[in-house]
Amino acid sequence: MLRALYSAAAGMESQQMNLDVISNNLANVNTTGFKKSKVEFQELLYQTTRAPGADLGSGNQVPTGIQVGQGSRPVATARIFTNGDLSQTGEQLDVAVQGNGFFEVQMPDGSNAYTRDGAFKTDSNGRIVTSDGLPVIGGFQPVPAGTTNITIGSNGNVTYTGAAGTTTFQVQLVRFNNPAGLESEGSNLYKETAASGTPELGTPGSNGFGTLNQGYLELSNVSVVEEMVNLIQAQRAYEVNSKAVQACDEMMQQSNNLIR
């Protein structure tokens, strides 16, 4: 009786985390470069009262056995790295990656972080920075004063033209073996971990790297309809588990009332 109570409670806790992740996805439906998460569940350990295959004597074995589970628990929140839609903004420094690849930025403590958010700006020294002021590395050179035109080609070829002349250079993107293993830092940034593999630099458009699109921003890959359906499922799963808790309570009440 008590095992049913704790299994149902574990089920409700799992659905609560499911709801947390769905709400986060919905809250970030307009965040540039956001990648949605999904919760994956796993069953808990089984309690074996009668082991399948145990010897019954006289050459017979237990065919199926008795094993009761203890509930479920969340085991991973997997990031889904599908491409988001592109939205045209027309800004010179807005770049969207279509395909594989991250921009590399430098954190204040010197370590590197990676992002899909290509809404770049220039700081007072002309360096290309993110909206948080973090410098973008990977080949980007500072914009000289008097530049009138910045062109970013889909293969990473960047050209500055202006009063100071013409400067051309190549920028590179970074990709990982297991992007789902990256650690989310918040602020649209990801950090490398032992699970993601080492960053691999490459030219956009070659070797499976994505292309750069100037004047576009990558929208979040959250689909509102899909999240609403997941929300309904999580809510009903929570409700159904609470019914199991109530049924357990009533059964305990019945057993207590055997003595009048």
Binding site: L5, A9, V245
Partner: protein, 249 residues
């Protein structure tokens, strides 16, 4: 002598102690840094029965409820307050009580007092490595704290907030307003471990889970009810024995 009466009564006592802890956890609501109470039941020997031939059967055991505090990380709630701090990882903020003792807390909802020092809601100064944190009222810079606990006002560094950890936090004793004292001998505060960080603009929600408290409540109520039935049955049995055999007629 009917031992089962006392066993049932002890069980009901233990269950009502559990219910008190559940109520305390649920009453915490959104108190920042509240650490939930856990209950565990221990068996204590109540009586040792003897038999006619001197054999030694097992002791009668009664349950006793033992309280402990869970120092698991609670969820971080974003408030945006510049003086709202939360610790991510194990560790406590160090504050100074009016009698000069040091106390520890996870509650990071701080304010400034009239002397521009960083204080808790009860006006106890929050300690940095060099005494209370003194801020400058004439400095227009905003107060910020780094992940390692370094407080700065604008670009001026004002001190390093003291975040203490203990190897056995279950030995901390509690005083008024939920502050913890390290009064047991051998409890020395250590500097926080490398993974612990201080977050600004967040408060730590209590680490209780209403779902597990409610299922615990159902559990304790039904066990209480079952023991009450045992008590009632023993009472009725003794009554019928007395009335059947004790009547003088």
């Amino acid at each position: 002598m009917n031992v089962s009466l006392y066993q049932a009564a002890a069980a009901m006592n233990a269950q009502s102690r559990w219910q008190e802890l559940i109520t305390e956890n649920l009453a915490a609501g959104t108190t920042p840094g509240f650490c939930k109470r856990n209950v565990s039941f221990a068996d204590v020997a109540a009586a040792s029965p003897t038999t006619m031939n001197g054999a030694n059967p097992a002791n009668f055991m009664i349950p006793v409820a033992v309280t402990s505090t869970s120092f698991q990380q609670g969820q971080l709630r974003a408030t945006g307050g510049s003086l709202d701090f939360a610790i991510e990882g194990s560790g406590f903020f160090t504050v100074q009580l009016p009698n000069g003792d040091r106390a520890y807390t996870r509650d990071g909802e701080f304010q400034l007092n009239a002397k521009n020092q960083l204080v808790t809601k009860e006006n106890y100064p929050v300690l940095s490595d060099a005494g209370p944190v003194q801020l400058d009222p004439s400095n227009p810079g905003t107060v910020s704290i780094s992940a390692t606990g370094q407080i700065s006002q604008g670009s001026d560094v004002k001190g390093h907030l003291q975040v203490a950890t203990f190897s056995n936090p279950s030995q901390l004793s509690e005083t008024d307003y939920g502050y913890l004292l390290a009064s047991q001998p051998g409890m020395t505060p250590q500097p926080a471990a490398a993974g612990t960080s201080v977050r600004q603009g967040f408060l730590e929600a209590p680490n209780t889970s209403p779902t597990s408290e409610m299922s615990g409540l159902i559990n304790t109520m039904r066990i209480y009810e079952a023991n009450q039935k045992v008590l009632q049955m023993q009472n009725d049995r003794m009554g019928s024995v007395i009335s059947a055999l004790g009547g003088t007629s």
